[in-house]
Symmetry: C2
Subunit: 176 residues, 2 copies
C-alpha cells in the first residue's frame, strides 16, 4: 500500500458521528499499513485550543490551529483525519486553502436524531440552559456548499461510511 | 520500506544545528518513501504556542504542546521530528513518558561556536540587551543525562549526523 499526504475533514453537527467515523477510518487505514493521525476537536480543546470558547472568533481560532497541525502532517506525507463541527463555511475554506490536499466530508444527520443520540449530553445541557452557543440550537451550522463526500449517518452504517471515504481516497489517488 | 511511529527529539543550544538536521532528516526519510512530520519550535511558536514567552513556565508549556502533537503523530504510525531547544531535563523526560517511542538526540555544539554562527541573530540581540532569557547566556541549558544519540555539530557534517540518526532508527526497529 502507498499513500500521499491528505486531510480528511469531517464536519457536521454534534452527535452526527464524526468522532466514531474518524476512529473507525483510522483503524482501517492502520490495518492497511498506512499512517493516519486523528485530530479530534473534542480532544484538542484540552491542549491545542485550551482556553478557547465557542464564540465565532474562538471557533475560527480552533479551526485555524487544527488546520496548521493538519498542514504539517499532510506535508509530511501522512493522512490527517480531522473531526470538528467546524460550522462556518469560510473557516473550512481557509483550512482547505492552507492544507491543499483536502477532502471535505459532510457528516450529515437530521438535528432531531442528533438531539436524540446526544452522545456527550450537550444538547440536554443546552436545553436546560446549562450551556450556550450550542451548534444546531442557538449557534449556526452552515452545511458545506460542495462537499467532496456526504455521509448520511441516519441511514448509512459506520462501516459503509468508512468504505465510502476509502473509495474517495482511492479515486483521487491518495491511497492505493 | 516500513516504519513504526517514533519521535526524534532534537535538543540543544540555539544555532547548534537542530533545524538544519531536522530538515535534512525529513528530506532523506521522504525520499525513502517514509512519512515524517517536522515540528520546529521556531515555527510552532507562531501558532501552536502563540503568546508564550521564554520563562521556565512558558517553555514547559511549549514543550508540553509539542509533545501532545508529537504523541498523536507517533500514535498514528508516523515519524515526528521535533527540533526544540527544550533546555530542561524534566520537560524532556515528561515528553518521553508521554510519547513512549522516543529518541532523545543531543545536538551538541560549544557555546562559542553557536554564538559565532548566530543563525537567527539572537545571541547578538541578547548581548546588546535587546532580548533576555537567552539559552546559553542568561538562561540555563541542561544537557541530556543519557541521550540516545549525541551529535557533535562542530566536527560532524550534517550528512553524517543524519546518517547516524537513520542508523539509530534502524537499530531500534523503527524503520527498515
Amino acid at each position: 500500500m502507498s499513500q500521499k499526504g491528505v486531510a480528511v475533514w469531517l464536519t457536521g453537527l454534534p452527535s452526527a458521528g464524526k468522532s466514531t467515523i474518524a476512529a473507525s477510518l483510522k483503524k482501517h487505514l492502520r490495518e492497511m499499513g498506512l499512517v493516519a493521525v486523528i485530530l479530534d476537536s473534542d480532544d484538542v480543546r484540552a491542549w491545542l485550543s485550551k482556553g478557547l470558547g465557542f464564540s465565532r472568533k474562538d471557533r475560527d481560532e480552533n479551526i485555524f490551529k487544527l488546520a496548521e497541525v493538519a498542514y504539517r502532517i499532510v506535508d509530511g506525507g501522512a493522512l490527517a483525519i480531522v473531526a470538528a463541527i467546524s460550522p462556518y463555511q469560510e473557516a473550512r475554506e481557509r483550512a482547505r486553502k492552507r492544507i491543499g490536499a483536502f477532502l471535505e466530508v459532510y457528516v450529515k444527520c437530521p438535528i432531531e436524531i442528533c438531539v436524540e443520540r446526544d452522545v456527550k449530553g450537550l444538547y440536554g445541557k443546552a436545553k436546560s440552559g446549562g450551556i450556550t452557543n450550542m451548534t444546531g440550537l442557538d449557534d449556526p451550522y452552515e452545511p458545506p456548499l460542495a462537499p467532496d463526500l456526504t455521509l448520511e449517518t441516519d441511514c448509512e452504517s459506520i462501516e459503509g461510511c468508512v468504505e465510502r471515504i476509502l473509495g474517495g481516497l482511492r479515486d483521487r489517488g491518495y491511497i492505493g
